[in-house]
């Protein structure tokens, strides 16, 4: 997964063509750290159809709020720079993320 930050988010996600999956996480979020290996596994499976990136929101609070992310973990899918789908909190499980990916690609 490519680590993006508040400087590179625009280029890597908002100005990107096609599908981008963003894993919003933070240093203090233990559920996020537990989930990340699952997202990395999904990247192996779907990485050729969707670009996978992760954003540490601790250093990008305003950006996350602008993207309407105010709770972690949140996994969002963007298409051509627009957010089209999202799972968050308890819903952010491996199965649900996989189902969300399959819905779109």
């Amino acid at each position: 997964m490519i680590a993006v930050d508040k400087e590179t988010f625009e280029a890597e996600v908002l100005n990107a063509d096609g599908y981008v999956l963003v894993d919003f996480w933070s240093d203090g979020c233990e559920p996020c750290k537990a989930l990340m290996p699952d997202v990395e596994e999904l990247e192996k499976q779907f990485g050729n159809q969707i670009k996978f990136v992760k954003l540490n929101t601790t250093q990008a609070r305003r950006l996350a709020i602008k993207e309407k992310v105010l709770g972690l973990p949140t996994i969002s899918i963007y298409k051509d720079g627009n957010k089209i789908d999202e799972v968050t909190k308890e819903e952010a499980t491996r199965d649900n993320i996989e189902a969300m990916i399959k819905k779109h690609v």
């Binding site: 203090g28 699952d38 105010l70 709770g71 949140t74 909190k89 491996r94």
Partner: protein, 315 residues
């Protein structure tokens, strides 16, 4: 040859990790299955001040990390999987997970509890959009914002104190006119100049498009409702909900005995109604749900599991 574990433990919270440590140390082949983060609920809190021996740097995650290390040191395996179905009536018990199926001579069930919801309009839609059940996950979004904490027990008040490190103001909203939290925690809250209180109050509705923008409070004494809207510059605020817990025991309905609220009924030895199946931790009917009682349950359950295996599988 297929692998049959002596003990399979469902849940890697304090109860499951303690059971795993005792089982592995007792030379039983031990597998712990966890659907999410290791450590369970306690891994989401910043300060665990009341667990004996943990006083400095006693954060939930660090306490749990030490438990995990200790467990692995003695040879327990921890795997990530969500158990969806259990077949416990045969001598060899079968646990069906999302990823694999597991077989065991004995099973220790330690699935803990998850936060109870407010169950009001807007709550579901606004989860992750300003409504949160995990302060350590989401506190830093609310740096310099306003936050409401709903509840009056230990968790609510402790998390409210934690949130004052980030938010500019924290209001504890409680449906009674006094807190239920331990006196020492209450004192800290009353002394904290960033904490305000709204007594005899509940939430009726949460409003917003994309993010929490407003909330409707109801005063339980007068019946009056009052709408609070986000400060214009902020655009949003936080609602942290700590109004109790529900046991994660749904997959055991009709299989293991439980009370009306879904808590397992066991004896003092953690035995359930099925021989070889034990329950430990917050999932059980008990008077105190804390780390100290969860780890105690786990230890007892694993010693009982060992006895059960000795009596039933060894000639």
């Amino acid at each position: 040859m297929e692998n049959i574990y002596d003990v399979v433990i469902i849940g890697a919270g304090p109860a499951g990790l303690s059971a795993g440590l005792y089982s592995a140390r007792g030379k039983m082949s031990t597998l712990i299955l966890e659907k999410s983060k290791t450590g369970g609920q306690i891994a989401t809190t910043e300060e665990v001040a009341n667990y004996p021996g943990s006083i400095e740097h006693a954060s939930g995650p660090s306490l749990v990390a030490r438990m995990v290390d200790q467990c692995k040191e003695f040879g327990a395996t921890i795997e990530k999987d969500t158990i969806k179905e259990v077949k416990l009536d045969e001598k060899i018990k079968v646990l069906v997970g999302e990823k694999n199926t597991y077989k065991a001579r004995s099973v220790i069930v330690a699935p803990g509890a998850s936060p109870r919801l407010l169950d009001v309009p807007g709550e579901k839609e606004m989860t992750g959009k300003g409504v949160s059940y995990c302060a350590t996950c989401d506190a830093d979004f609310f740096t310099d914002f306003e936050v409401f904490v709903i509840g009056g027990g230990d968790s609510a008040v402790e998390e409210a104190i934690f949130l004052t490190r980030f938010a500019r103001k924290v209001t504890i909203v409680h449906r009674r006119d006094e807190l239920k939290a331990a006196k020492s925690i209450q004192e800290k809250a009353f002394k904290n100049s960033k904490i305000d209180f709204m007594w005899n109050t509940t939430i009726q509705e949460i409003k917003g498009e994309g993010l929490v923008e407003g909330v409707v409070f109801k005063n339980l004494q007068t019946g009056e409702t009052q709408e609070y809207m986000a400060n214009e510059e902020d655009g949003t605020f936080g609602i942290f909900v700590f109004v109790g817990y529900i046991p994660q025991t749904q997959i055991f309905k009709g299989i293991l005995d439980m009370d009306e609220a879904g808590y397992f009924i066991t004896d003092d030895n953690m035995k359930t109604n099925i021989p070889g199946v034990f329950a430990a931790g917050d999932c059980r009917v008990k008077s105190l749900r804390q780390v100290v009682t969860a780890v105690s349950d786990g230890a007892i359950a694993s010693v009982q599991a060992e006895k059960y295996i000795e009596n039933n599988f060894h000639e």
